[in-house]
């Protein structure tokens, strides 16, 4: 056990894990956290707490993660390199672990030009791979980055990373995942999948490199509906994830696009379970928590396991 988190134990036992995304409120409203926590509580094993997602200022992921612990949920604290230098990163990791946070996902973060503070200075003192290495150094060597200065206490964290199999250059994606695993990533959450063929092609490259045996891969799932398709394909949003035309047609032509979106996710989960090296799913999407429970239920993944 690297951190002894619930997520780590579920994965260690070879169970199909489920994480779900939680976006902290744009303020300090604890009741808003509670409302979402209630929706997620019984349908996921751990909750990803985003770190100022899309570079929009939100309650800090450290604080929101801590609140979730008080509410009986297990957080996966996301940490980006966009807003913190290595001093702030290591300080926040000390604080987060002191508050009982046991999972961290290391990422670069959306560029600040997409957010609501576009004139800010982006930091990127470290990149996501260097951040993974930093967390592992703190955990396994018990020192700060640089390997010299000892840390008081133990930083026990289950280290996560992300990958977008759909971004270019495609050929680089599995290679980059390999770097993340070598840097110390214990688990990976992928960007949400709509193009299953491309995802399988990426997984094949991951398998060729043997990475599916060195880390746990949770495949990204995010329900579509008509509005989200319009948003995703619109000019002003991130074009990170292509949606195949067939899928767009299936959703938009359906009598109930929201329900159809849920059905698609359930089918995707069944398909993903058959892929070697997929250890679980990661449910994503802004304010879609109510749909998460229905997807998990529809996929026959309830109740979630209690692991000692």
């Amino acid at each position: 056990m690297k951190a002894g988190s619930h997520l780590e134990r579920v994965l260690d036992k070879g169970m199909f894990a489920i994480t779900g995304e939680f976006n902290p409120p744009g303020g300090n409203d604890v009741r808003a956290v509670e409302r979402k926590a209630d929706l997620l509580k019984d349908c996921v094993d751990a909750v990803n707490v985003t770190d100022n997602q899309s570079a929009m200022v939100r309650m800090s992921s450290v604080a929101a993660s801590s609140l979730l612990i008080q509410m009986g949920l297990e957080p996966v604290m996301q940490m980006t390199t966009r807003d913190r230098n290595r001093i702030a990163i290591q300080s926040d990791l000390m604080g987060a672990t002191a508050l009982g946070i046991k999972n961290v996902v290391c990422l670069t973060g959306d560029h600040h030009s997409f957010g609501n503070q576009v004139d800010s200075k982006n930091v990127h003192d470290l990149d996501s791979i260097q951040l993974i290495d930093c967390v592992r150094t703190m955990r396994d060597q018990g020192t700060l980055l640089g390997g010299v200065e000892k840390i008081e206490g133990e930083i026990r964290l289950f280290i996560g990373a992300v990958e977008n199999p759909f971004a270019d250059p495609f050929e680089f994606r599995a290679l980059r995942l390999g770097k993340k695993v070598r840097a110390g990533a214990d688990f990976i959450q992928t960007q949400c999948i709509y193009d299953m063929d491309r995802f399988k092609e990426w997984m094949k490259r991951v398998q060729d490199r043997g990475l599916h045996e060195k880390c746990r891969i949770l495949a990204g799932i995010s329900p579509l509906n008509s509005e989200r398709i319009i948003l995703q394909c619109g000019e002003k949003t991130l074009r990170k994830v292509p949606i195949p035309e067939g899928l767009v047609g299936r959703i938009t032509k359906s009598k109930d696009p929201r329900e159809e979106g849920i059905r698609v996710c359930v089918e995707q989960i069944q398909e993903l379970k058959e892929i070697k090296g997929i250890h679980g799913i990661h449910l994503m999407g802004m304010d879609l928590e109510e749909q998460f429970a229905r997807i998990v239920d529809g996929a026959g993944l309830l109740p979630r396991p209690k692991v000692e």
Partner: protein, 223 residues
């Protein structure tokens, strides 16, 4: 070379509001190449300022000069007599040139007439792109000769973020993804193995501007 672009006319006029006799100084080096601060631009800006001030009913006398390199002290010294004759200076050299003049003119204010933008190259006539951030420890050997520090919006050293599509940066569809360029270049060179290596955290605090302004001293060149 260093790139620059002229500041808005209104801004320069605002700087000059209290003055009636000024020196407009260009530079024969970088800013001449990017058509922002050479002899030609000195002439154009001087005419523009004169006309604008005439319209305002406040005539202005403008002396014009374009030393070969404004950032060299010898040329600043040559200008010292002229500098004494004016109430203020507008420099359309880069920010370095402005500060060289400042160092040699204790009593005359020097204003920038351009915004210094970046270290870059000419792509085609009238188009320039950033290529270097003078980070202090060049990584081009590892990245196929393409700089991720200056050309990746997140300065990522170990590969692309999750944003690029069709070889373009997600922030600006006109900007090539630096890591796509690096990948293509190393692929062409048969050196993709270079991408496998994890580049450790950069020493911004020791090598870059983050330790404060940098200074170099060469004993063999000192007089």
């Amino acid at each position: 070379m260093i790139k620059a672009e002229q500041k808005p006319m209104e801004e320069i006029l605002r700087y000059l509001d209290p003055y009636n006799k000024i020196l407009l100084s260009g530079c024969g080096a970088c800013v001449t190449v990017c058509h922002a601060g050479g002899e030609k631009e000195v002439g154009l800006l001087a005419s523009g300022l004169r006309m604008a001030r005439q319209k305002m009913g406040k005539r202005i006398q403008i002396l014009e000069i374009t030393p070969p390199r404004q950032c060299e002290p010898e040329f600043a010294l040559e200008m010292s007599q002229t500098l004494e004759k004016v109430e203020a200076v507008v420099s359309i050299a880069c920010g370095v040139g402005v500060q060289t003049l400042v160092r040699h003119t204790p009593k005359t204010p020097v204003f920038p007439g351009v915004n210094t933008t970046f270290l870059g190259e000419t792509i085609t006539h009238g188009v320039w792109e950033e290529r270097c951030q003078a980070c202090g420890n060049c990584v081009l050997e590892q990245t196929g000769g393409i700089c991720p520090v200056s050309r990746c919006a997140k300065q990522l050293l170990n590969g692309p973020c999750g944003g690029p599509s069709n070889g373009k940066c997600e922030i600006n569809q006109e900007t090539d993804c630096a890591w796509q360029l690096i990948y293509d270049r190393l692929n062409g060179l048969g050196q993709l193995y270079k991408l496998e290596e994890i580049i450790p955290a950069k020493r911004w605090g020791a090598e870059s501007r983050d330790r404060g302004p940098r200074r170099m001293a060469r004993e063999d060149l000192k007089v």
